[in-house]
């Protein structure tokens, strides 16, 4: 996927399809830039992409291809390496369950995403335990408890203002003891400029790893063996998406991104900047409030929505996308 060759193919295919589709008048580079800016791609990435399109357009094979489609291809090229699936649940007999820790800014949607992940793993037949490590926000555990009851999954919480790392330790311990296959840790929202709160997250991680190593069968487990840390990013964010992705991964290490609220008017282009800055993959997107509204990240659909492709252009894009994915 990271190979550039398929995209050369893609461009040729786009050109070849030109005769079969009626194209609207080609957009100017300024219009392309405007689309990108309105989608929160930011001035510098927008300029890069527009320059790439301008260069592509000069190639013989792309002469007849509308600039907007070239832009879609260029965006996709940047996003494809950034797709990844959620890790599979660990089998109970091996001892250690798969652990997922959700982190992010206040209001980004960690708690709801935790519930959605519980539903997703449960739908695969895995046994799931939720540990409500947000001991700060008023009634955060009440919110998760209601979800856990609704979904019928295991649930652990501690009184408000309790040490979240201590709860994480106990939660991981009981997940191992009780043979859960997946354990989900929600955490309190925090802004990326709050250093003490970042340290608290690192402590939670250490507690989880330590607890996992308590089990006699699973000595010397490292974080990467079983713990996935997901940063939850709100699609409505602007430049802060980049700051959050950079700082959270520098401070405590992040395995992947979950983009929430993509069902609204936000186009989520700032996430592309976050991906460009960190190289982190997007593992899931949130598209609504119910437990089933978590989906794998589909780069093609994301790009089409971000650029507002419609009509003939959209059909052409989709056709090429499926051809490309077969290749």
């Amino acid at each position: 996927m990271k190979d550039k060759k398929p995209f050369a193919l893609w461009r040729t295919a786009l050109a070849a399809s030109a005769k079969r589709f009626a194209s609207p008048p080609d957009e100017s580079l300024e219009e392309l830039e405007e689309r990108l800016l309105l989608a929160d791609l930011g001035p510098s990435l927008a300029a890069d992409l527009v320059a790439a399109v301008a260069a592509d357009k000069k190639q013989k094979t792309a002469k007849e291809t509308p600039r907007l489609l070239l832009l879609a291809a260029a965006l996709l090229e940047r996003l494809h390496p950034a797709t990844a699936a959620l890790p599979p649940p660990r089998q109970a007999p091996q001892g250690t369950p798969l652990a997922l820790l959700l982190i992010g800014a206040n209001g980004s949607g960690k708690t709801t995403t935790t519930a959605k992940l519980a539903q997703a793993y449960q739908a695969q037949g895995a046994s799931v335990l939720i540990v409500a490590c947000d001991t700060f926000r008023a009634a955060a555990s009440g919110q998760l408890e209601a979800w856990a009851r609704r979904l019928g999954v295991g649930f652990r919480a501690a009184p408000e203002a309790a040490d979240p790392a201590a709860l994480a330790f106990v939660g991981m311990e009981s997940a191992v003891r009780e043979g859960y296959e997946v354990v989900l840790f929600d955490s309190a929202g925090r802004l990326d400029n709050e250093a003490p709160l970042m340290d608290e997250l690192a402590k939670i991680k250490r507690a989880i790893v330590k607890a996992a190593n308590q089990a006699p069968a699973s000595q010397h487990l490292e974080e990467k063996d079983f713990l996935t840390t997901l940063l939850v990013l709100d699609a409505t964010l602007g430049a802060a998406a980049v700051a959050q992705a950079t700082r959270f991964s520098q401070a405590i290490g992040v395995s992947g991104l979950v983009v929430t609220k993509l069902d609204g008017t936000a186009l989520g282009g700032a996430v592309v900047r976050a991906v460009a800055a960190t190289g982190l993959p997007i593992v899931a997107v949130g598209l609504g409030e119910s437990a089933e509204d978590l989906h794998p990240f589909a780069a093609g659909a994301f790009v089409a929505a971000l650029l507002g492709l419609e009509g003939e252009l959209l059909r052409r894009f989709q056709e090429q996308l499926s051809l490309y994915e077969q290749a």
């Binding site: 009634a139 802004l191 602007g238 430049a239 609220k261």
Partner: protein, 475 residues
């Protein structure tokens, strides 16, 4: 959250400073880099266009004044335009928050996207109103998010615990559990009347503007509760979506103000401009932390200045007050008064330097200066050695020279250098520092119709004088 924007803007405008006249090409170049800075700060594309167009027209049409450089003039125009953008049409200035409310209780409806921070804000706003002396209730009409009401109840309890006096005026209204929102809303209003509340804050479920059913629900809810204020609550870190969100909500309910939450993040604050521009309504409050007290009344003047990097005169005055505590009360009072009148001569500087042991007025003053000026003056907070030299230079001057530095000609400077064991270059450096400080102080005072008073939160100077007395502990 505004510091980064201000630095970027200054970079753009700096190209214009030091030029004799504003040439169109120079201006365009400066505006292009300002455009990038604004976009990077998440200001909406539409607001950026409005701002740059008006700055361009005004900057080119303006006569160049003798007293200021063209660059300074452009900065001034920018400041005014940003303030205009934040304040809206001065002829249609909005009444203060809740000032026009007729009914009892006054009703404030909070609306916004999921996770915008409505529930936390409800508790903060309740505390704010209770501190104004109003018996204030909150009710959660969020029937969709699990434990939303429980969160509001607990947040209010935290607010109550924080401030016993105001806490007595805070009431949590338990909602009637009914699947129908309309019935729950009516019951809450009736309960608010029974409790003889003066204000009622209604928290609602988060919703995206694309969900037609939820928008309809909000429309009918607004009809039932007929709010005096509808506050759109939004994350200060919002990007370009600010426009779509503001318009989406504005089409369905009559937004009367905006609240930006998480303004304590390192975001760049562009959302303040975007929201104002797109909603046509004033930003009323900023959420600045997790505590129930972490609410600031939005002050466009202060923000506009910070965006442009004029430094923050209020922070500066605060710094001054801290240094004042360390000084002789009478002297500090005099300095403070002079400072408020915009007077600052070398005698003042001398006094401040003398008082300066790890942070006097001067240091505060320098901190409050625009980044560009600070840089120009080079490492403004002087080291101990520099401080010693500066004091030596100043003490080698006569009181008259310190009062009227303009009399310092070459021969006097040579005498002072000799007397203080320094060089004429060092004397000049000190004078430069003094001039930079003074220039900015003057500009701060002159700029804008509201001037210094406006900057200080609209308090009349006399009242400020009293505040100053309070700031200084009695001996």
């Amino acid at each position: 959250m505004f510091e980064q924007l201000s630095e970027r803007l200054q970079g753009g405008i700096k190209r214009l400073t030091g030029r004799g006249v504003i040439r169109e090409a120079d201006l365009d170049e400066a505006l292009a880099s300002v455009r990038t800075a604004l976009l990077e700060a998440d200001v909406s594309l539409a607001a950026v266009r409005t701002l740059l167009d008006s700055v361009r027209v005004r900057a080119l049409g303006q006569e160049v004044l003798d007293s200021v450089s063209p660059g300074q003039q452009v900065v001034q125009v920018f400041l005014e335009e940003i303030r205009t953008l934040l304040d809206g049409d001065p002829d249609k200035a909005p009444a203060p928050f809740l000032a026009t409310a007729q009914q009892t209780p006054q009703v404030v409806l909070l609306v916004g996207l999921q996770g915008a921070g409505k529930t936390s804000l409800a508790a903060k706003l309740a505390l704010h109103l209770a501190r104004e002396g109003k018996k204030t209730g909150v009710v959660s009409l969020d029937l969709s998010r699990p434990a939303a009401a429980e969160q509001l109840e607990k947040s209010l309890a935290r607010a109550r615990a924080l401030d016993e006096k105001a806490g007595g005026k805070l009431v949590y209204l338990a909602r009637v559990e009914d699947a129908q929102l309309a019935k729950t809303a009516k019951a809450a209003l009736a309960e608010a009347k029974r409790e003889s509340l003066e204000s009622l804050i209604i928290d609602t479920a988060g919703r995206t503007t694309l969900a037609a059913d939820l928008m309809d629900e909000m429309r009918s809810l607004a009809k039932i509760v007929s709010p005096d204020e509808v506050l759109l609550v939004a994350d200060a870190m919002t990007g370009q979506d600010a426009v779509r969100t503001a318009q989406g909500f504005g089409e369905v309910v009559e937004i009367s103000g905006v609240v930006l939450t998480r303004a304590d993040a390192d975001g760049r604050g562009g959302a303040a401009l975007s929201m104002r521009h797109a909603s046509g309504q004033p930003v009323r409050f900023l959420g600045v932390g997790e505590s129930p007290e972490a609410l600031e009344v939005f002050d466009s003047d202060r923000i506009a200045r910070r965006i442009l990097g004029f430094g923050d005169l209020i922070a500066l005055v605060e710094a001054a007050s801290r240094s004042a505590e360390r000084q002789d009360a009478e002297k500090a009072d005099r300095t403070a008064k002079r400072f408020h009148k915009g007077k600052f001569d070398l005698n003042d500087m001398y006094e401040q330097l003398q008082a300066m042991s790890g942070g006097g007025l001067l240091e505060g003053l320098l901190q409050g200066l625009p980044a560009a000026v600070r840089k120009k003056a080079g490492g403004m907070a002087p080291s101990d050695k520099e401080l010693g030299h500066m004091l030596a230079i100043l003490s080698s001057m006569t009181a008259e020279e310190r009062r009227r530095p303009e009399v310092l000609q070459a021969s006097r400077k040579r005498r002072i250098a000799k007397g203080s064991g320094t060089t004429v270059a060092e004397v000049n450096r000190l004078l430069k520092k003094y001039q930079d400080t003074r220039t900015v102080m003057k500009r701060l005072r002159k700029s804008g119709d509201k001037g210094l008073q406006g900057l200080l939160g609209g308090q009349p100077a006399a009242a400020l004088g009293e505040d100053w007395q309070k700031l200084i502990p009695p001996r």
